[in-house]
Symmetry: C2
Subunit: 240 residues, 2 copies
């Protein structure tokens, strides 16, 4: 029934891809069965604990990586050690700067993460052919650009209280890509230090603002990490 000339039966796909939740999303969703089969021979699925470096700023990129599960933070540092988180990547985002020999950011796991590593040459061959894969990667880049610019407003123009509210709101609406509506409850994938680096604040200020939101019954926090949104409307209002 579903048979374009080039299609392949599921059974011909590697086991790894058959069972992959990202199979129909992200860049894999844009590949023909042939392409998927070809590239799957070179990919390799890996798990990483929190705090592991995946790629380093200004270092050659050995491989791209598809995020299958968890959260990856992209950071940049100043010479004196000041750090800024410049992006968060969720499934099914692709990690790695296309068409650059070196990474422009450091990518580090923020939570337990599952990745599908794709060798640089394999993906770039597929991209340079043009077509749906390159197009999908372009769409991700454009979305990331939109998100980065949204965040610039937060960094440049919002107060500490608004920054923290914006961060919680972002997580509630973005942490589960399959979910349509905002989450009621979730675990923070970032430490206070990471949140501070994301918001351009100190950990003390982040802590104080979270305490304040708790005191005002907008959120509840259990075990430092587990957040419940009690009043999403109020949270939204506090985003500035």
């Amino acid at each position: 029934m579903q048979t374009v000339r080039k299609d392949i039966h599921n059974s011909e796909l590697p086991v790894l891809c058959q069972s992959c939740e990202a199979r129909h999303q992200g860049i894999c969703g844009a590949m023909t069965a042939e392409q998927l089969l070809a590239i799957s021979k070179h990919t390799r699925r890996v798990r990483r604990e929190p705090g592991q470096e995946i790629m380093a700023d200004a270092m050659p990129i050995a491989a791209y990586a598809n995020v299958l599960k968890g959260v990856v933070k992209l950071t940049k540092v100043l010479e004196d050690g000041r750090q800024q988180v410049v992006g968060l990547q969720f499934a099914p985002d692709l990690l790695g700067r296309p068409f650059a020999s070196e990474s422009r950011v450091t990518a580090e796991t923020a939570s337990d993460v599952e990745l599908c590593m794709i060798p640089k040459t394999a993906l770039e061959a597929m991209m340079s052919a043009g077509g749906p894969v390159e197009h999908r990667i372009m769409m991700q880049a454009l979305r990331e650009l939109d998100e980065a610019r949204d965040w610039m407003v937060t960094l440049g123009r919002k107060t500490a209280a608004e920054k923290v509210a914006s961060f919680l709101y972002l997580l509630a609406t973005h942490i589960d890509p399959t979910e349509e509506t905002a989450l009621q409850t979730f675990d923070l994938p970032l430490s206070r230090a990471d949140i501070a680096d994301f918001l351009g604040l100190t950990i003390e200020t982040v802590s104080r603002q979270l305490t304040k939101l708790k005191a005002e019954k907008v959120i509840e926090i259990a075990n430092y990490r587990h957040v419940s949104i009690k009043d999403l409307t109020q949270l939204r209002l506090r985003c500035g």
Copy 2:
């Protein structure tokens, strides 16, 4: 001599494109002679004074625009009027969010600007074909993403003094796309208010930091707008 099968003589090109400085740069440089000929029938060259709106946030985009001359600022505003400049576009950048029905930013001329307006449908037809034009646009998006992330570090982690130094350094190195080395002298394309909105500061703070750099003989300023870099090394050092 130079004759690929599809090439066209210069004389067949519309006058507008023949004399266009961006002809071999930006997206036009990625077009075949045929494509350029086809699209040039629909383009129209316009001049704009400083402070004119080119596209509005959350409004449908009527047309893309190639920046031929001058500086365009991309801004976002919060409901209460706080504003953030999220990007500056120089020649030969393309204005307009590809593959979105609405703009995600407000685009406004910062200086005297020349634009080449390209109807939405004309360019999108060329893009959806894939190939070099889409690829060129993707490269621009990736570069803008890199720049946005660099700027996030400035917004989130630098002091007022470092922000102002970083802004001047950015201009010195980016304002003239043809120039390899940093400029010694140039006119600020932005008012103090725009600079403040770019840096996430107030105009008073910007003014004070410029005065300080002047007092420390790192720069000179004539007529508010005309800047001379007296000590580029010192300026670089002050970027943090």
